[in-house]
């Protein structure tokens, strides 16, 4: 089988044409602030020294900086760490300069509706798990975030919820799915990926198969709510990490020709003081050998078209993965029916 042979199948060719329009995306990631109300178990941001910077809080400096990013060819921004919603003026300056992007938030503070970025709201468990895994910065048990998130973002089309599966919370997703579906929102899945040197008990050890089964069940039970695919579930719950399966194109891990190609060439991960290192990664400090992170997969799996053309089935899986990735990351992009079964 080959790429051109697979493209002879009308539904496959149509899907390829649909996703190919978005191959132009060139992204980088930006810590907007080092402040956050929460300290989540295994948080990438607080795992290393990224938080030990002096935040640049001047929206005009950010605007100027983003103009430079645009000139560098970046047309998609990932606004993250620690809690970007705490810096509304900076978010506005970013949006007015580069209008495509995503904000990663805990959802406890509503982001200005005029900022038309995708908003990915993190969910860590149900009413028992979420407060346990996500404590307040002062160490007290955290809030149950979901009710607050649903209230803050009622009827808000920018939002997609992201449920992170960990070793303990596979069954907890049932309550979350019911609430998110009841509110008419969408949800996708992440798999907890442990930071380097972090001994978190949330690391999935013997629950990968149960997680995969639960993902499949959720897709079947909530087809209009869950934005995911069978192929996503398969690759994110393998015993081998994403890098082990596909290599990694990010500058931190890229090898050989990949450093000068695609995301390995242009991706940077900036700190809140607008500095960046040479070994950028979408989730800094993640142990690559345990990386099953959804954001990492969005670049790792999508970039490996070359590993998915040996059979039509593999190509269908890749198309579902890219279609899912675009539905999670691009505001207004509608996911189609999965092709890979």
């Amino acid at each position: 089988m080959s790429l051109t042979a697979s493209l002879q199948v009308p539904e496959v060719e149509a899907r390829y044409r649909k996703v190919k329009k978005f191959f132009f995306l060139r992204e980088s990631a930006y810590d907007i602030t080092s402040a956050c109300q929460l300290r989540c178990d295994g948080c990438y941001y607080f795992a290393g020294d990224r938080s030990k910077v002096r935040d640049d809080k001047d929206p005009e400096r950010w605007r100027h900086f983003m103009k430079g990013e645009k000139e560098r060819g970046i047309n998609y921004v990932n606004l993250a760490g620690a809690e970007p919603a705490l810096m509304p003026k900076v978010l506005r300056a970013c949006h007015e300069t580069i209008p495509l992007g995503t904000i990663f938030t805990n959802g406890l503070k509503r982001i200005d509706p005029g900022i038309r970025y995708r908003i990915q709201v993190s969910v860590w468990g149900d009413g028992t798990g979420d407060p346990k895994y996500r404590k307040y910065a002062n160490g007290r048990e955290g809030p149950y975030c979901l009710p607050v998130q649903l209230e803050n973002y009622a009827q808000d089309d920018r939002v997609i919820f992201v449920y992170t599966f960990n070793q303990e919370n596979v069954q907890q997703v049932d309550e979350v799915l019911a609430q998110v579906s009841g509110a008419g929102h969408k949800i996708t899945f992440n798999v907890f990926s442990v930071p380097e040197g972090n001994g978190s008990l949330l690391k999935l050890t013997d629950t990968l198969t149960a997680t995969r089964d639960k993902m499949m069940e959720a897709m079947e039970k909530y087809p209009r709510t869950v934005v995911y695919s069978r192929y996503n579930a398969e690759v994110h719950t393998q015993a081998v990490s994403l890098r082990g399966q596909f290599g990694c194109p990010y500058p931190r891990a890229a090898v050989n020709g990949r450093k000068e190609f695609g995301i390995g060439r242009t991706f940077r991960n900036y700190r809140a003081d607008l500095s960046h290192g040479t070994a950028s990664c979408c989730v800094p400090h993640t142990d690559c050998a345990d990386c099953r992170h959804y954001a990492a997969g969005s670049a790792i799996v999508t970039s490996r078209l070359d590993l998915h053309t040996a059979s039509e089935g593999m190509f269908r899986g890749w198309l579902d993965y890219v279609d899912t990735y675009l539905a999670i990351w691009i505001l207004g992009y509608d996911k189609s029916e999965n092709l890979y079964v």
Binding site: T4, K20, F24, G247, N256, R258, S303, L305
Partner: protein, 84 residues
């Protein structure tokens, strides 16, 4: 090796993307860099390399992607592999 055959594969791979193919055709040369001079995105380049492999029955490695950055470089490689 006729560079036109390789260029045809380039243009086929760019169809459906965001490119102004007519404008590109008018200004490119065989030594134009796919990324720096033509602004081709990495996934479109991967599609092109896959089509190249099929058309000439060659196998490229990941390392090759960073080196095969122009039609000139590709025709040189194909010549070495017996596609003169």
């Amino acid at each position: 090796m006729d560079a036109h055959v390789v260029w045809d594969l380039v243009w086929t791979s760019l169809q459906g993307g965001h490119y102004d193919i007519d404008a590109l055709r008018a200004r490119v040369r065989d030594d134009s860099h796919f990324i720096e001079d033509m602004g081709i995105d990495s996934l479109d380049l991967v599609e092109f390399y896959l089509r190249l492999e099929e058309r000439f029955n060659v196998k490229l490695k990941e390392d090759d992607y960073a080196r095969l950055t122009s039609v000139q470089a590709i025709t040189a490689l194909l010549a070495v592999k017996g596609h003169a």
